[in-house]
Subunit: 338 residues, 2 copies
DNA sequence: CTGTTAGCGCGTTCAA
DNA sequence: TTGAACGCGCTAACAG
């Protein structure tokens, strides 16, 4: 079996130099029309396509952005909100003719993955960037944008004002008269956006204070941002007490709560209120009519990618970007009865 | 600002050759323990990490598999079944220490994307590989696995036996006495797995024949594999006739149908039956209790990736791989009433 | 203006 | 343990 056809082969067959062949593909204006045509004709005959890796190597560009996944790929791809973020990133990548590379931990090591990633920039989501990873990023001079990460004086971040958004969320609940409230927070381990949970808890405390309540007034429980753990958390809470409202930090969890209530003959909204967070757009979820705090995942993705391209470009970009959020009224949060 | 630290810098500072430095990282056994330690120490001091692209270039490997997306990334990432396929691919990639690169069309051109993809192999899903793309793949000697593609004497494929699976699906419906049947098929345009639709239609005809019916007995309508178009298709069909059962080619569509029925005060299963196809596992869908034909998307992804790695390895692999499927009983397909 | 030469980018790997 | 070739295309500098 013959080796791949290279630029050299074309140059020889066409009777020109390698440079001429390169120009024929990249900058036809630099050679005569005649030469360009002859070279492209020969290239077509011999089935020559410039090797993309060699090309990228000499240009010093990868033509790909990386999306760094803290968890196993299988887990990350189950979260609808993560998916919306990915769509946003993907959209901007497409505009720039870039690919989007998903980077899972290599041998369970994120830093190993970051060492080997062949991308021009990285976007991380809900990931604590520790010192080791930081060092690697610095050594590789790799631009990074962190979505929903801790505020930081070195790493660019895109997020909403989680504290204020959470305060708004709880305020809606308190305004409707709810006082027996169960909060389902996010887990605090290193692979989850623990900081988010903390920022939001501060917002809850703020809202509680406004109503003259202390944080002891609410039951708090942690659960990963999935439908299943939402159900489990609701079941656990209901076995011990009977709140009038569930406040969750993700729609996936809220949907789990709604279904858990349903399985017990309780209607979300009418019997017990539920409020979510994220504003998942997926059509099939709309049936639930979830009341929630909306943050646009696609926009987060798009802004992050935009910032990354600017950084790759060498532009200066503000360190922190805040995205708007809002309350979306649904059918699962209603005035407390009796 | 200094340039990136290179292998050369380390070699000089450590007083060894580039080769020695390379060995220190990749094959420490080839040099003395002493040399290895010294070199690694210097490397750490200077903050040296072998450049992954240069490394891949000289090794002739990309350490990434590509997932070729026929549609805009935003669309592809909305389909739950596509997501499950991606998860399967991702899992195998992780085992091999590979990244997974999503490849959208460049400037709306798939062939352009295939030309430039920096990956060791490609997986396509529901994509017709035309002659132009074929040529590029051949020129680049790029291994490919097509999921749900047409059977082909050149391109490896992974799929279920769609004809038989569809026959099974319709048989279930016919056995329960349904005779006024509406089929919602998949669109036949080039970006969709048109061939699937055709293969399955053959299966339907087969099942109909077994019951002494001709294909005129069913209403047929095409709709893309999304929740929204499922609703629309159901609405359109119901405005003209009143079938006793909807047979769909995807669960997303079936869920749309179920909700459209609900919005008209009809209960799926009790009033009108609905059967899906795919067997989406997403927890939040389970509430629907959809009767459906299950095909394991993750397994499709895993098998495809496995085959691709074997091909990259130079192994011989059978051209066609069939995955099992089965009927899953739910609450939306019931015996036809009086 | 057209086309060529030569060197670069950075690690890997074989022969010595 | 190392020198030197290699992979492949790009591009600055230069000659006709």
């Amino acid at each position: 079996m013959r080796k791949r056809t290279t630029i050299q082969d074309i140059a020889e067959k066409a009777g020109y130099s390698k440079a001429a062949v390169s120009f024929a593909f990249n900058d036809p204006a630099k050679i005569s029309k005649e030469a360009g045509e002859r070279i492209r004709k020969v290239a077509k005959e011999l089935g020559y396509i410039p090797d993309p890796m060699a090309r990228n190597f000499s240009r010093g560009r990868h033509m790909a952005l990386g999306f760094l996944l803290p968890q196993m790929l299988q887990e990350s791809l189950r979260n609808p909100y993560t998916q919306s973020v990915m769509r946003g990133i993907g959209e901007v990548c497409q505009e720039h003719g870039y690919m989007l590379t998903l980077i899972p931990p290599i041998h369970a090591s994120i830093s190993e993955a970051v060492k080997n990633a062949t991308v021009d920039g990285l976007i991380t989501y809900g990931l604590t960037i520790d010192g080791k990873i930081r060092d690697i990023l610095r050594m590789r001079r790799m631009p990074v944008v962190s979505i929903d990460g801790e505020s930081d004086d070195e790493i660019h971040s895109v997020a909403i004002d989680d504290e204020e958004a959470a305060a708004l969320q709880l305020r809606k609940v308190l305004e409707l008269g709810h006082r027996r409230i169960a909060v389902i927070s996010l887990p605090g381990d290193a692979y989850e956006p623990s900081c988010i949970a903390r920022r939001r808890m501060k917002g809850y405390e703020k809202a509680l204070a406004e109503f003259g309540l202390s944080s002891d007034a609410v039951i708090i429980r942690e659960a990963p941002a999935t439908y299943r753990s939402g159900r489990e958390a609701a079941a656990a809470i209901l076995s011990e007490s009977m709140p009038t409202c569930f406040v969750t930090m993700s729609d996936a969890v809220a949907l789990g709560v709604v279904d858990e209530l349903k399985s017990r003959g309780l209607r979300a909204g009418d019997d017990i209120s539920v409020i979510g967070f994220d504003g998942i757009e997926d059509d099939s979820f709309q049936g639930a009519g979830l009341s929630t705090i909306v943050q646009n995942g696609e926009e987060k993705g798009m802004r992050s990618a935009g910032i990354l391209f600017a950084m790759i470009d060498g532009s200066d970009v503000p360190l922190t970007t805040l995205i708007p959020y809002s309350y979306r009224e649904g059918r699962t949060l209603k005035e407390m009865k009796g």
